[in-house]
Amino acid sequence: MSGFVLTPRRAFETRVDLAGVLPGVDLSGLTVGYGDRGVALAELFEIGGSVGDRLTLKSGSALLDRVGAGLSSGELVVEGDVGDHLGQSAAGGSITVSGSAGAYAAAELSGGRIEIAGDVGERLGAARDGSRRGMSGGVVVVGGSAGPRAAERLRGGVIVVKGDAAEGAATDLIAGTLAVGGALKGKAGRGMKRGTLLLRSADGLAPGFGDALEHDLVMLRVLARRSPDLAAFLGGAFKVRRFAGDLNAGGKGEALVVPAA
């Protein structure tokens, strides 16, 4: 698989806006934001390889914003960390980050797949400021923990956080699925309208959830068939404890406590 390989020429002094730096794009002559000015991409990165459906970013940094923003096809691989707005509004393709990501990772994602091996900052898969709906499709897998308000106003798609989710996860969640393998830090699912939370414990749920006791749900078997990531999370367990909520917002959402495999 051919493609460009970007290697930083030196440590960054300010934030870099990598919007438009995508697989399949001819990067020669491209200008990117650098602090409050624009600079040639080639001034910040050594550009190796040629245009192709894969783009590799070596030696990532938390100062690299909007990595993979608007991606619709191809593969973007980051060796290291990224900054804010990773994969923002992406509609397809795949992004793999071996380190951690900042705030608003996968915000308003509508398709494709994003994997982050480390942690993510606040508002994973959320709506951006002033926007009514967060991520609406695609899959996000976080190997570490998520910052505050993960999946806020999530509209669709699947988010799996293998570690903890900080306060306010799934706030005002509209639809879609958030799975959290670690602990919830409180007030999760407040204002949740529909959608599904898959959890290991009900601790940390907002008070508006009502206990519907244990059920063997056929629906989980369908989810496991259609989503390998959820299948891995469920680990073959389909008997779960169901909490309906937020009962203050219609109560058609649910938090399912899945025993660990």
Binding site: G137, G156, V158, A175, G176, T177, R194, T196, H215, D216, L217, V218, M219, R221, V222, L223, A224, R225, R226, S227, L230, K252, E254
Partner: protein
């Protein structure tokens, strides 16, 4: 054409275009999946009297079903799409939604959509919830047992209805036994159903009647007790006739099913009482699909 002592008559089955769809029904056990499948395809032998033709296509192993439970695929055919869009949700609502542990999924992509959960969700009286995973919408309808899970809709296909073979046998017992063997072979062909009881239609029929308002009546030329009263298609050694009707998702599927049946009957041979194999048609002027027995066996 004589094969293993069995005459393959120079005849053809005359079939018609129909609109078809496939559903996959699952349950906690294979037994309950089959009960739901048999119930939903009950009273669906002929569009003339039942409004649709339906039947079990095959059992589906757990590894292939949408929810990992034992399943059965069923096919339904009607003369037009509107009919399909009416009978399928009605039947699912009465026979699958009600059947213990069942779930109902789309069995085909493409074509005009036929409602499943799109229509049945309202049974949930506002408590129903939808889930969209992998681009497909699925409904969860609360029921007293737990939840009824179903896809939003299924696809449809332009199919073929009314393929058939007639088995002319030396005795009633031998003809039925031969028909059962043929049915077993034909049911292994994917994309086809044999909508009549056990796959066999012992009455047969011809189009029309001397009585006003009757669309079908005794096929007197093949009725063994009438050979002295009417022009007959039966040679003296023929004592009984059984028919197998085939509906399929394509001409090729019905053709393959026809061949499978004839091969099974030929394997039995004249020694097992199979005298001849014929087919029902209307002179070739009504149905656009002709399944010529000798060409199929060539």
């Amino acid at each position: 054409m004589i094969l293993n002592g069995v005459e393959i008559r120079d005849s053809f089955a005359e079939a018609f275009p129909m609109v078809g769809t496939r559903l996959i029904i699952t349950a906690d056990t294979a037994k309950w999946a089959m009960i739901a499948a048999k119930t939903v395809t009950g009273f669906a032998t002929s569009v003339i009297g039942c409004g649709c033709e339906g039947g079990v296509e095959r059992e589906i192993p757990e590894s292939e079903t949408p929810d990992g439970r034992p399943g059965v695929s069923v096919l339904f055919f009607t003369m037009d799409l509107k009919g399909l869009q009416t009978v399928v949700p009605n039947r699912i609502g009465q026979c699958v939604l009600t059947s213990p542990t069942s779930a109902c999924y789309a069995g085909m992509e493409g074509g005009a959509k036929v409602s499943i959960g799109k229509a049945l969700r309202y049974f949930g009286d506002g408590w129903q919830i939808a889930k969209n995973v992998d681009g497909r919408r699925i409904w969860r309808v609360p029921v007293m047992e737990g939840e009824f899970v179903c896809d939003h809709d299924t696809g449809s296909v332009s199919g073929v209805g009314g393929g058939n073979i007639l088995i002319l046998g030396a005795s009633r017992a031998e003809t039925l036994a031969a028909a059962e063997v043929a049915v077993e072979a034909m049911q292994k062909v994917e994309g086809c159903i044999l909508p009549f009881p056990g796959g066999i239609v012992r009455s047969g029929s011809k189009v029309g009647s001397r009585y006003k308002g009757m669309f079908a009546s005794s096929n007197n030329a093949y009725c063994p007790t009438l050979r002295a009263q009417t022009e007959t298609k039966l040679t003296p050694e023929v004592a009984s006739v059984q028919e197998i009707v085939i509906d399929g998702v394509s001409f090729e599927a019905v053709s393959a099913c026809t061949r499978a049946g004839i091969e099974a009957l030929v394997a039995l041979g004249r020694d097992k009482g199979v005298v001849a194999i014929d087919a029902g048609n209307y002179g070739g002027n009504l149905g656009p699909f002709h399944f010529k027995l000798r060409e199929i066996m060539a």
